[in-house]
Structure formats: C-alpha cells, structure tokens
Amino acid sequence: MKNLRLKAARAGMDLSQEELAKAVGVSRQTISAIEKGDYNPTINLCIAICKVLGKTLDELFWE
C-alpha cells in the first residue's frame, strides 16, 4: 500500500526524496520504495524519518 502520508509530509517540508534520503542515511530509491509501498522499513528507519520530518510514528506509519 502506498504511503501517501510520508510523501505529503516530505513535500510539506519542501524536501526531495534525495534530500530526505541523505538526511536519514539511505538511498533515494529506498525512500521511493517506502512511498510506493514496495518496501517495509525497519523501526529504526521509521524513527529516523519521523525525526527528520517532525512527525510521530503513528502519523506516518500506523495504518
């Protein structure tokens, strides 16, 4: 399932996939795969993304 909340939160902070990827230490393709729902990230990566985007795990990843 696509993660539109992550995409919206990233766009809300005016960050590209590449910029978010660099901030959390992963490849751009990994951020793209998470947004498309092709990859289920580990809790550590979820937390790192939430910290950068200033959101909670519930807001971005809880179904």
Binding site: G25, V26, S27, R28, Q29, T30, A33, Y39, N44
Partner: protein, 172 residues
C-alpha cells in the same frame, strides 16, 4: 607448484590489489568498503540466492554438454569459469534492477566508466589472443577465452547500469 599454478596465484594477488585500488577510486569517501542501506542489504541477500541458482543451472548445462558428446570438454579450465560468470551475472543483474548494486558512497558515473574500461580491456586481450591464434591450441580452448567471457560479462553489466541510470533519471 608448476609455473602455471604460480601464474594463477600471482594473478589472484594482483587482482585483489587492483580491486582494492578500484574500490577506493569508486567510492566518494575513498573507503574500500561500500556502504549499503537496509533495503539494499535485503536485495543483495536475495541477489546472492539468484546468483547461486544461476551458477547451479550453468553447472547443470555444462555437465549435460560434457556428457552429451557436445565437445564441452574442449573448453579446458575456462569451462569452470562459465558457471562462475553465470552466477555473477545473475547476482549483479538482480542487484542492479532492484537498486542494490550501487552503494550509498559510490560514484555511479565513475562506476559505469570503470566497468566499460574493464570490459574493453578484457575483450581486447581475448581478441588479441584470437588474432595471434592463441585462443585454440590442440583443439582445446586456452586461458585467454576467459578474458573474452569476462569482457562479455562486463559489457552486459555496463549496458545494464546505463539502462538503470536512464530509468532512474526518468523517475527523478
């Protein structure tokens, strides 16, 4: 040990040193170790499985060819390399198209360029040997055939990387 064995041993050592130098040149931070993120590590794990089964399938084909009187035994020791290269191509191809091949600290353009250079160098060695008539001696294929095989493998990897780069550029 025979002279040929020494040549192989020295070749392997020189090869390892070259790989270390190339890795340092390829990685933006000059590190020997390429860094991958968690998704890439998962992809690479699956890719090793693909490579393993590709090598097994190639071994099966080679055994069939050897026992079926197709003349595969004339490949000499380069016949051992065909399953190895099949495994490598399987692993690398899966990695490239699933975004697990190029690391976080790898310079993609430099990487593609070096693949092209290595491929061209190996093809040159293989074709040079063929022109000098050193590729087949006593109806048995000789060592430089491995250069031809490696050259073809690197050309395949180069083409896949170029295609992948084009796909990524369109996605961005």
């Amino acid at each position: 040990m025979t002279n040929a064995s020494w040549a192989w041993a020295i070749g392997i050592v020189v090869g390892i040193i070259l790989v270390i130098i190339l890795l340092r040149a390829l990685n933006r931070d000059g590190a020997v170790k390429t860094k991958y993120d968690e998704r890439q590590l998962v992809v690479r794990g699956k890719a090793y499985k693909v490579g393993f089964y590709s090598a097994l399938a190639a071994c099966g084909v080679m055994m069939f060819l050897c026992t079926g009187n197709f003349g595969a035994e004339k490949l000499g020791y380069s016949g051992y390399f065909i399953p190895i290269l099949a495994g490598v191509v399987g692993q690398v191809s899966y990695c490239i198209f699933k975004d697990g091949y190029v690391g976080l600290n790898t310079n993609m353009t430099r990487f593609i360029l070096i693949m092209a250079l290595i491929g061209a160098f190996n093809l040159f060695l293989g074709i040079f040997a063929a022109v000098r008539g050193e590729l087949i001696v006593n109806k048995t294929i000789q060592g430089p055939f491995i250069n031809l095989l490696c050259g073809i493998m690197f050309v395949i990897i180069f083409a896949e990387l170029v295609v992948k780069k084009a796909i990524d550029a369109r996605e961005e």
